[in-house]
Subunit: 437 residues, 2 copies
């Protein structure tokens, strides 16, 4: 039996969940890993605060140095944010402690140098909880798909925005109203920018990009759009065209060690895409790889218990699972994705007054005639049309004036969203599809 002393930084949602999981599942952990994980010291800001887990009261301190002086081999960082978390993690690694963290911002922005520091000190830095909460996505990529070349990842990595989009679609309610309600219910922060503007997703995508593609991409260089401009009308039109709108993290690598594209933003998913049915606060990741073909992981992306699960699994793995090989991130391999990448695009035209538009089919034919390949069109509402949704097979930034001129439209607001294709539709062959059994 191995005994491991743990120093815990922070006793908020995640810290409390970790205390409870270590207590409640102590027997399972001992049986399966022959390891006793003991919390020796807990750093808090306010020692007077009433705690959910009373039995740790005697190990509480407000002095970080005291945590390091305790009999510990691992520090669990559950404070969040950059400061003072970064300093503490650096000091813990310097002191020869392993570190397990749920801190996506810290790992996204400083993961590379922290990993380098850990390697230099002969310790490990694990951060499963930083992406997808309880879903073991990093472990799956690192340990269970390592003979595969993963060439595309698509993720729903923020529960708050997925919850908002789900309710907007189901209730046909506008963004602001659903957001206000989510804030009231505690499902969204008072300042919702990190979620709804896509920052949170960008952190997670940066982490995935480093792990999956070995691409070290500064978060600030990841193109990012939020969901504020999505309307229930767009959601309704998309559904009638066979799509849903999700806030997606998208990463693609064009060959092994080749250029990488990362982007965050709302995009259309075909209703038959494995991520399309992922609703509410659930998170999910879809991986496309050369041997396994595609794997989807779905689970709860946040919350006390799921996040604690990922932290505790990291603690169990520290002394059991092999370290990932030292990465040689290819810093120059980053390819900026373009909004004008020539891929399929949903185009939404919104007029102040009813549009004089014939039927969707007639509209498609007119656009085909002038050389614009349209895969679908829908008019909303049918009588007294004020909105128009079109799926372009390929999109080019030169199209808007052509489109508006052909339709004889003025004073119309045109917005576009990328459309994600189905796995395999680009290169499906019978052999790849395989025979089921």
């Amino acid at each position: 039996m191995r005994r491991i002393g743990v120093g815990l930084l922070g006793l908020g949602t995640v810290g409390t969940g970790v205390c409870q999981a270590l207590k409640n599942n102590r027997d399972v952990i001992v049986k399966r890993t022959e390891t006793l994980l003991e919390i020796e010291s807990i750093l808090v800001r306010n020692p007077e605060k009433k705690r959910l887990v009373e039995e740790v009261q005697d190990r509480i301190t407000t002095d970080f140095e005291q945590v390091l002086r305790a009999d510990i081999q691992v520090v669990v960082e559950a404070i969040g944010g950059l400061d003072p978390a970064r300093t503490y993690v650096e000091k813990a690694l310097e002191a020869g402690c392993h570190v397990v963290t749920a801190n996506k911002e810290l790992i996204a922005k400083h993961g590379a140098e922290l990993e380098w520091l850990a390697r230099r000190r002969g310790v490990r830095l694990l951060f499963e909880a930083s992406v997808g909460g309880g879903i073991p996505v990093l472990g799956t990529v690192q340990h269970l798909l390592k003979s595969n070349r993963i060439h595309r990842i698509t993720g729903i990595l923020n529960g708050t925005t997925n919850y908002i989009l789900t309710r907007m679609e189901e209730e046909e309610a506008p963004f602001e109203r659903v957001l206000a309600d989510a804030q009231e219910k505690g499902y969204a922060e008072a300042d919702p920018a990190a979620d709804v503007e896509g920052f949170d997703v960008a952190y997670k995508l940066a982490i995935l990009g480093r792990l999956v593609f070995e691409a070290e991409v500064p978060v600030s260089r990841i193109p990012r759009r939020g969901i504020r401009e999505i309307t229930p009308e767009q959601l309704r039109l998309c559904r009638r065209l066979g799509y849903t709108i999700k806030l997606l993290a998208q990463g693609e690598q064009y060959r092994e060690e080749g250029p990488v594209s990362l982007q965050v933003g709302p995009a259309l998913l075909p209703l038959s895409h494995p991520l399309a049915p992922v609703k509410g606060v659930y998170n999910a990741v879809h991986l496309e790889a050369d041997v396994v073909q595609d794997v989807t992981l779905i689970g709860q992306g946040a919350g006390e218990q799921p996040t604690a699960s990922a932290v505790v699994e990291d603690l169990c793995n520290l002394f059991r699972m092999p370290a990932a090989p030292g990465l040689s991130p290819s810093r120059d391999s980053f390819l900026l994705p373009s909004d004008d990448d020539g891929g399929p695009r949903f185009v939404y035209l919104e007029a102040g007054e009813p549009l004089q538009i014939s039927s969707p089919a007639e509209l498609c034919r007119r656009l085909q005639k002038i050389g614009l390949a349209v895969d679908g069109a829908v008019i909303h509402p049918e009588d007294g049309c004020r909105g128009l949704g079109l799926i372009f097979r390929r999109w080019d930034p030169s199209y808007p004036p052509i489109l508006l001129a052909e339709l004889g439209l003025e004073g119309v607001r045109l917005s576009t969203l990328p459309v994600q294709d189905l796995p395999f539709t680009r290169e499906l062959s019978a052999a790849q599809a395989g025979i089921p059994g």
Copy 2:
């Protein structure tokens, strides 16, 4: 750099896939695991047969002993079936070789004794490919969720039957016609019993039961129903009630080391269940656990490449991942699930001639009045009703005569299917649901 010699038994679909993956992804495997996996010898039945992978021609033999005499540390068994696979695997283990296999029947029926043999010889037996094809479900349970108590598993583990049910639902086509077409396309075997009668799923569930619940359950004791009796009418009525029908592998454990229930059969899934959207040849597993809450894994459950992926991942993990602790399967913990378990049930009444039934709502009220709790009713077709679908909140084997008498029905065929509840609906609390982020 470690060099591992591999002896391959069988060069059919899986064996060919393994050869190709080891060749095509050699660089990735070397980079990430510092291991060179070399196929040294391949056992085939017919050495004259033209092979897809030509470069292994010089290592082909028809003599099993010659494989063992080659410079190998691992045997990959890719023959399938019980004989001679079982003998070969035993001999390989006896000879001190690790074994990786995709053979679900062998592991389901003889896994326990083969593991015991492997342990005694100080080698390992890995079989990720035996359940869910490319989906790393066994690895996830063993390595990435080991601090969790998993209390329920629900799986779609057979691509052929899921393909058939998907097409029956989408095309409203009868079982026999879809099966015949699937056979013609090579999606179903000439003798479809293993798939459509649920044997294949029972093998996989037995393996999962041993791994997840430490329950050693003989395959023959797993209650098993196939999909032959499912009709497009049932599928249509279920959908109108908010459900779909899937061939499910269901396993439940009522407390740590407590009694276990395993069963295979068609069951209703609420359309919002994470497994409901899994279509066609895809497989999926839904895990419910005490800390992580629930995780769903979806992927291709068969086919040359996905299966090869799982085999090759096992090869990479042989010398890297920790062995699972020795199991102490609780042989007496098996609880036979009952068709009369008091859970929710879909009841289908099929008459030869039109039924004189009032509206579904009226029907529910009548049944409530005599003490039968009905959550939904649907009549098909509305005009000249010949079929009737009911969702009972709880089902009891004494109900059919009461039901038929109350409705004044005679000569009516009554069949029932269990209904799977949503994760958490039994004990959801706000704290468990957590706050998204």
